[in-house]
Symmetry: D2
Subunit: 347 residues, 4 copies
């Protein structure tokens, strides 16, 4: 029996409807670097979905690239970016932000989330310090939605964070590498329009939500990133065959495919969660999205690993360890049935 996989949501190619569009358009000849009509159409679809007709959209290839390009473009040279200690840019991007010359300024992380009060307090303390010019000024706030722990902000929390940022005059940037799953979260009350309204720049992740690759940056603040294209090029993030991004996002934003994929994955993740909790295993983080974290006995982990692939979350503990199970667009109900029967046998 082949193993079933819950390692992550970027283990396969693209959703069949995305591949179909790539095949249909494969022989078309278009100008490069995203100046084609597929790209223009995809931008329109995205702006419509966001309810921000005047915003600007840029397509980049991957998440780390998008984070470093946006942050480099927003910050002044003496500024850094506020971020939860657990934030992807602080932990898992090989220093991409610092490589552009900017410090990542650490905020406490509450299961991956930052608190509006902490942002507010950081800024207040910073400017009340007489030596603040010898420290790195907070120039923007980075949050992820959903976070690296699969958690999401409520609309109220997001509104508060947005208010704090705008009161302090610093832009709010939302990393939406898994945005779809956050919007489709079980019990969530945040919409794409809310994200667009409350942030100054954010992106809609394609790589982890059904595309081969690609992230759609939406800049809602007209004063930000005014010369973004040369910076995208400078960061090596301007795809020659840019229309590949337009075609893919065009497919994802046609007939609600992006939402459908997201909801389906979250639904499957809820099934995975139930299977584990019904067996009495502890949920480590209360995640309403497609990433689920459980604390399992090491012997159960070892037996499961024979037939199922998934990641340990952090170092292996003495008797039990936190593991992550992720659903993606290729996860089938049959996979989850199999997982359930394996778990019944092995735990």
């Amino acid at each position: 029996m082949a193993k079933i996989h819950f390692d992550t949501d970027y283990m396969s190619g693209a959703h069949p409807k995305v591949m179909e569009r790539l095949m249909e358009t494969n022989f078309d000849q278009t100008p490069g670097y995203g100046t084609d009509t597929y790209t223009a159409e995809a931008k329109e679809l995205i702006l419509e979905a966001c309810g921000t007709p005047d915003a600007r959209v840029f397509f980049l290839v991957g998440g780390t690239q998008t984070n470093s390009t946006v942050i480099d473009g927003v910050l002044a040279r003496h500024e850094g970016v506020l971020c939860a200690e657990s934030g992807h840019i602080n932990v898992h991007e090989s220093g991409a932000i610092e490589a552009t010359g900017h410090k990542v300024l650490i905020l406490p992380s509450y299961e991956g989330k930052v608190a509006a009060e902490d942002v507010s307090r950081y800024i207040e303390i910073f400017y009340s310090d007489e030596t603040y010019e010898h420290m790195v000024a907070p120039g923007m706030l980075y949050i992820s939605f959903p976070t690296e722990y699969g958690t999401i902000y409520s609309l109220k929390e997001l509104q508060d964070i947005s208010d704090v940022c705008h009161k302090a005059g610093i832009p709010l940037f939302i990393d939406g590498a898994r945005l779809g799953y956050g919007l489709a979260a079980d019990g969530g009350d945040v919409t794409l329009k809310d994200i667009a309204r409350l942030s100054d720049v954010f992106y809609i992740g394609g790589t982890k939500v059904g595309a081969l690759f690609g992230e759609a940056v939406v800049v809602t603040d007209p004063n930000l990133l005014k010369n973004f294209t040369p910076l995208v090029k400078q960061h090596g993030a301007l795809l020659a065959k840019g229309r590949l991004l337009g075609v893919q996002f065009g497919a994802l934003f046609t007939d609600g495919l992006y939402d459908t994929i997201s909801k389906d994955c979250v639904g499957k993740a809820m099934r995975v969660r139930n299977i584990f909790t019904e067996k009495g295993y502890k949920v480590e983080v209360d995640s309403p999205t497609n990433q689920q974290f459980f604390r399992l006995p090491n012997d159960v982990i070892d037996r499961l690993k024979e037939d199922v692939s998934f990641e340990l979350w952090g170092p292996r503990g003495e008797t039990e360890t936190v593991v992550r199970f992720v659903t993606g667009w290729t996860t089938t109900d049959n996979d989850i049935d199999t997982l359930e029967s394996i778990l019944n046998q092995k735990s």
Copy 2:
């Protein structure tokens, strides 16, 4: 009648055989970031073709990205990269090299090529200057093969350049964004094995030779780029679904597809060239590869533009202007027949 296109070689998607492999493997689930078996197999195929079993291969997404990541990884902080004045990194990468902190050091360009003697002289004069520590040390040489003008080095020229570099102790880096066309050049005597043997690091361009995207970096010097993967990640160049690069390069290096595409395009470019020269137009640069440069009267350009798309090469002159015609894997014999008949009508 639809326009025919000779703008560039990245106007379509991927060669059908590449797309076919992407479709076949689309539902497979593999680990991310190039740790999959498709990628491992593609690396083996490339090393075999290069005749360098001990070299290392890394897959990146695009050319500018590859240039800046490689150069940033090779140079020490106080060093710059030698480059023809016309070199892509000096002209058309939005300052991507400087953005990593390194100066591009200019050498004379002879239709895009550098001369071994100029490299040698630069280094000699540099170190004979008493204030050389106040100047940027030449830390590597960048050349493109073929060049931005479609020209190529002969094996003798390449050998001389390689000798000069190695005598001076500086690595030779070859930008092979269009490498296939250089190897398939009309009258060329350089093979892939020569490229691998004479350089210290080079890349095999996929984006412009039949792939959707992708560049295969081959590091032949075991002392270079020892910790390259974190640097690739830092540069935002590590594709999450890395296997997409493995699958594509696997297809390109199976049954000689890469060579076949390249030879076919060069052959078609030679037809284009003949059509123009037979009509009495002047070849601006003597290019044996898939880019052809002609000097055309402005009125001919204007009439051609009605039915054919192509690029002006530099600013429009008073009465005549240099233009570029490029063939790609989608260029058909029929396109060229059409071009010929249009030219017959319009000139």
Copy 3:
């Protein structure tokens, strides 16, 4: 009555013997950028004092500049620098390290010090993480001696830290902006020769120990910073009239002036400490060097401030606040007598 000052140790010009040498040599004409004989002589004096005849010495102007230049020169592009959370490079250098592209990697701070076990654990956990290539590799360790809290490492602690670094193959860099005070510390057992023997690169602070400005970088590891002069120039740290640094350090390392200044200041700091503790005030950090930290009631602070200048250490508390008193080469016994009588009146 003029205020007496305990704000910091860089409030005056240079020690009279340093000024005397600057005056004596003022009309001499020497070549620039530290290629003069005063500089050569000062280097010899320093190497002799360090017991490292084969080490190399470079003179830079200030501390932040020295930290960023050394760290930029030591680290590879994918590496960061380990540092106590309270370290100067992490807190008070306006992001100078990040501006060179490198992340500051945080270790726990124990009154400004790092623990050898924490360094060891960080490195071990880092390389045991499967995704370590997506994180910033620890490429060197930065410690300060004395620390920002005036504390010092014992010889045993320093030896352990050095052992951990060398076992892991990462250089140990000691920020000695106040090195003299650390070596002259009350109860300390570390000598300059120990510093030179146990570290790979360190610097001897002049700015805060009697010079107008200047830091003497000593590189004991022959494989480090092989092309340091161009990097110093690139960082804007190569003084045109470089002999000013040679003359000053020549004076400081003649007849033990550097030690004399340091011991005198530490002795005076111990007097300050006694004055406060005898009045029953709490010592906040047990510092054996020229910086002393006390927790004082706010009303005492306010009254003292009328006649004495000193810094609050961190934000003002509700009823009491930590303050810092620093002695420098201009602090006189009379100043301390005055402080004592003021404190008697005002507390």
Copy 4:
């Protein structure tokens, strides 16, 4: 007989009046980092001399440092700095500008000067190129006054350059490392007030005009460099004992000392020039400032070198070589008499 020196203008310490003020104020205790009253007073004196009461003044330590800090602060991430090919930032700063991530964009050099028309043409051609977003945008203009060849702009030339810059919306930055000599130039018609009026940011060099070190940056455009102090700190350019700069510039701008030194040196340089031209030697560059360039036979050079030190300007020629003679504040009339008699003997 001791050699006489014409190597450069930074061979000695500081002008006696500057040293006197440093000695007088040596024991004063002031707050650090330029927040003292000496610095405030010096700023006032400079602003008065510039006729720009609302401009801002910042003191940095050296020229390369000042260039890289100002340019880094002015440019957006995608921009580069226009500069004559011979400009100091392009040639002799070890890549300090590129190290901050910015390309130096080359203009033709006319004995060190740029032409307004070339600036205008560069900008026009740049924005008329369809691929301009793939190239580095000209974000400011750097010129030096006097230039590296000792030449100066006329008021008309400077006005034209300023007009071109302001029409194009790019700031004009003047490197005034030797500003005094330019203002005192033989036949020059540019005043300090003109410099302040026509540029957006410039600096008044101290290092080469009588100070131990120090450059006074004057920012006349209120929209530029709004958060400059943290950037100065980040660049390692914020002197702890900042008052040393205030004291020195205070002395230089009291009773016209800066002008007096400059005029005296230029006068002496004119004497040097006459001595050589009267002997029939060729002036290589027609410089009206304190740097003089002659083309001398190699055998004359060799004989002169026995008693006089000076620099070869570029590589030694086959039979004759260009040499540079520089006067500084320590150059005496007696030195020049000696030079004359040596030249009479040896040529």
